[in-house]
């Protein structure tokens, strides 16, 4: 096995630059060779994009970039047919930060179209396969980012998280996933799904790697009016120690876990106590189902954000207008492009969003969901004044089989039940792999911290990572023949 297959960024940075460059070149060749079987990239990049000659803290390394994060030099189609061959003329702030750090880019990570999905099956490029078991989902919507990192086809990856889209794939693929506080990392250049929830996140092979990348991304951005930072601060870091207080929101965990996942979760709580941390049970007291609240808000915002895709300035061009009755020709052309360009899941959510925003429904559905969200955020924030973090599972069990929800897509929505609360409240959350289930699929734990407390959240996760001593790179079966 080549050393780079399982090495972390931190380990790679201890080696000479020349060795890192060679490893990344070997990784780029492996991407071309292995991507057809995994589907983790929509486009594999080569040449200067993968190996820039720029000095910086990440020189010699390269990342996977989710296909909804804009950058010059690659197509940004968000895995949607409607944006076929769309090339962004500008870099997202996150990509600029990586470029300035000397980082290269191995490819565009496959995803659920526009981020809508939990399994990476709703992609114009076909599904992402889980490297641990290719008949299983890699999670979604940043499944390509997670699979690439887990399979050793990227040093780390950028993803985006709207309701769990970084954390659920990290869980399914046995790696670390960090969803920062809303507004701590710039969204400039992230193609929006639901603007009040979207955050660019990091997928990495260790907590230290996630920290290293997050430090480059965090900070205010004049091009994103909702991004106030602050930048990473060593003053906010806390030495890991005894006495940290965690709370388990029992009303959210409920009886939703598969038996083996429940056992793993309780076991992890014991390990937290062994670290000298206090772990209390509590009830958040949700007034409304967080998943339903999330679905209404995310769909409403998506129906607005995706209104711009009409085939007039970019993306696929209109074909033959449908028989649109007496609508004006322009509207018929727009309808034809959108019917052909959006996949079924995106259409479902856009229609749901249009429905909950329609005059006469707005108060009953959308405004009520917004009120439920404010209530939930207040309750979680209040809990985090008393506790250093909330502890939750990331998902109810290991990665499920591909195609499991083919005939009932709506039944997949509750897959986000443990991840949407932090999204609705705008709080930072981190998924840490903890072990394998009885089918050899990764399980994880999720820590949710107070707003802008990533420094502490990462310190906590790192202490637990050392205690659990599980690392995908060491346990993974698929490199042994490399």
């Amino acid at each position: 096995m080549s050393w780079w297959r399982a090495a972390t960024v931190v380990e790679a940075l201890r080696r000479p630059l020349r060795e890192r460059r060679e490893a990344t070149a070997a990784m780029a060749r492996a991407c071309v060779r292995e991507n057809p079987a995994l589907g983790c990239y929509t486009h594999v990049l080569a040449g200067d994009a993968a190996a820039p000659l720029v000095a910086g803290p990440l020189a010699g390394l390269a990342a996977a970039i989710k296909a909804n994060i804009c950058g010059v030099g690659w197509p940004n189609d968000c895995a949607s047919r409607i944006l076929t061959d769309y090339h962004s003329p500008f870099d997202s702030t996150a990509v600029t930060a990586l470029r300035e750090a000397g980082c290269g880019f191995l490819g565009l990570a496959n995803m659920d179209e526009f981020g809508m999905g939990s399994s990476c099956e709703y992609s114009n490029y076909g599904p992402v396969r889980n490297p641990w078991n290719r008949e299983r989902t890699a999670g979604g919507s940043s499944g390509g980012s997670a699979a690439a990192v887990a399979a050793g086809l990227a040093w780390f990856a950028l993803g985006s998280d709207t309701g769990g889209s970084v954390r659920l794939p990290a869980h399914c693929c046995g790696i670390v996933g960090l969803k920062p506080t809303y507004g701590r990392v710039s969204r400039y250049g992230l193609v929006p799904f639901a603007s009040s929830l979207d955050v660019i996140g990091v997928l990495a092979r260790s907590v230290a790697d996630a920290r290293l990348v997050f430090r480059l991304l965090a900070g205010p951005d004049p091009r994103d009016a909702t991004c106030a930072g602050p930048a990473w601060s060593a003053d906010r870091e806390e030495a890991p120690g005894a006495g940290w207080r965690l709370a388990v929101p029992r009303d959210l965990v409920g009886g939703a876990l598969a038996p083996v996942a429940a056992k793993d979760f309780e076991h992890n709580l014991i390990r937290c106590r062994q670290l000298g941390w206090i772990v209390d049970d509590m009830d958040i007291g949700f007034a409304a189902d967080p998943v339903r609240t999330y679905l209404v808000i995310a769909a409403a915002e998506a129906s607005s954000n995706l209104a711009r895709y009409d085939g007039s300035l970019y993306g696929i061009a209109p074909g033959n207008p449908d028989t649109g009755g007496d609508d004006p020709p322009y509207l018929r052309a727009v309808r034809e492009v959108r019917s052909r360009g959006f996949g079924p899941e995106v259409q479902r959510r856009l229609m749901l969003g249009a429905y909950v925003l329609a005059a006469g429904h707005r108060d009953r559905f959308y405004h009520r969901a917004c009120a439920a969200r404010r209530d939930l955020a207040a309750r979680m924030t209040a809990a985090l004044r008393r506790y250093d973090a909330l502890v939750l599972p990331t998902a109810a069990g290991g990665a499920w089989p591909l195609g499991a929800y083919r005939h009932d897509p709506v039944a997949m929505y509750p897959a986000d039940r443990f991840t949407v609360p932090a999204s609705l409240a705008g709080l930072p959350a981190l998924t840490l792999p903890t072990g394998l289930d009885d089918e050899g699929l990764p399980l994880s734990i999720q820590l949710v911290g107070a707003a802008r407390s990533e420094e502490k959240l990462l310190a906590m996760a790192e202490a637990l990572e050392q205690e659990l001593a599980f690392r995908a790179g060491k346990e993974a079966p698929w490199w042994r023949t490399d």
Partner: protein, 269 residues
């Protein structure tokens, strides 16, 4: 009044005046705010609505809007918000306009001209749309986005009893004020000052609550005389109805399509 077929209803008019602000940049991006440049030379990812671009509010536009508000005796709101107004039209790159509906920049105020006091409802900032031009081939349409995202201040008056000549003089005075304050060019000819009139009928008993009555919007009346003419339309109900119908045709509501998804909604929420 029964003789004119209006059953005692009195015509009233409310004006919506759009002032293109003389700010150096567009409302949400750094593009130069210039109505006279070559087509599509003053555009960027933000005002083209490209995926991933984000709007950042121009402080200059806010200051100019506040200056106008203070001059008219309006209350500048300590917190105001922006909303998206959705409709599909080729001159609108994002297919929504960023405007202020729920919490405008300023409320109240008035302007009195020659004994006629026009009370004001509100003043808010919003972005302009692009411009449609004849396309390169016959039957095609081209879009110039130089104007897309240009900063507008919309001044909405409260409805007052329609009196054509008075409104004309009032608009002239408002234009003088716009120019004197340096808010905008105030030119009706090149569209840097545009006026829409809402003409409606108020039952005598409802005089204090014009919102309870029927209203119709007349778009882009580009001279004080046109406003006066529009106000006179109420006396010709057939013409008025046809204008009303055209105005409603512009409402690309999503209500119809949304009805079809009731079942889906019931499942998930």
């Amino acid at each position: 009044m029964v003789a004119d077929g209006l059953n005692g209803l009195r015509p009233a008019v409310g004006l919506e005046i759009h002032v293109r602000l003389r700010a150096p940049t567009k409302l949400f991006c750094g593009c130069r705010n210039d109505a006279h440049a070559e087509p599509n030379t003053l555009i960027c990812p933000v005002c083209m609505g490209l995926p991933g671009s984000l709007p950042v509010l121009s402080a200059d536009a806010v200051m100019l809007g506040a200056r106008m508000a203070l001059a008219l005796g309006a209350r500048v709101a300590p917190v105001s918000r922006f909303d998206r107004k959705h409709y599909f039209y080729p001159d609108l790159p994002r297919n929504y306009q960023i405007t202020q509906k729920q919490a405008p920049l300023a409320v109240g105020g008035s302007l009195a001209v020659a004994g006629m006091t026009m009370p004001l409802e509100r003043m808010h900032l919003e972005e302009d749309a692009g411009r449609l031009l004849a396309g390169p081939r016959p039957g095609t349409v081209a879009v110039d986005l130089n104007r897309a995202g240009a900063p507008l201040l919309e001044i909405v008056t409260r409805p007052v009893p329609a009196a054509g000549a008075g409104i004309r003089a009032w608009l002239r005075e408002l234009r003088r004020l716009v120019r004197w304050l340096g808010i905008g060019d105030g030119s009706l000819e090149d569209g840097s000052l545009r006026c829409d009139a809402n003409v409606g009928f108020v039952a005598p008993a409802d005089r204090d609550d014009p919102a309870a009555s029927a209203w119709s919007e007349l778009k882009n009346l580009n001279s004080p005389g046109a406003v006066q003419r529009a106000v006179a339309y109420y006396r010709r109900p057939r013409t008025w109805r046809s204008i009303q119908k055209r105005a409603m045709d512009r409402d690309f509501s999503w209500r119809k399509s949304a009805e079809a998804y009731r079942a889906l909604y019931r499942r998930v929420a």
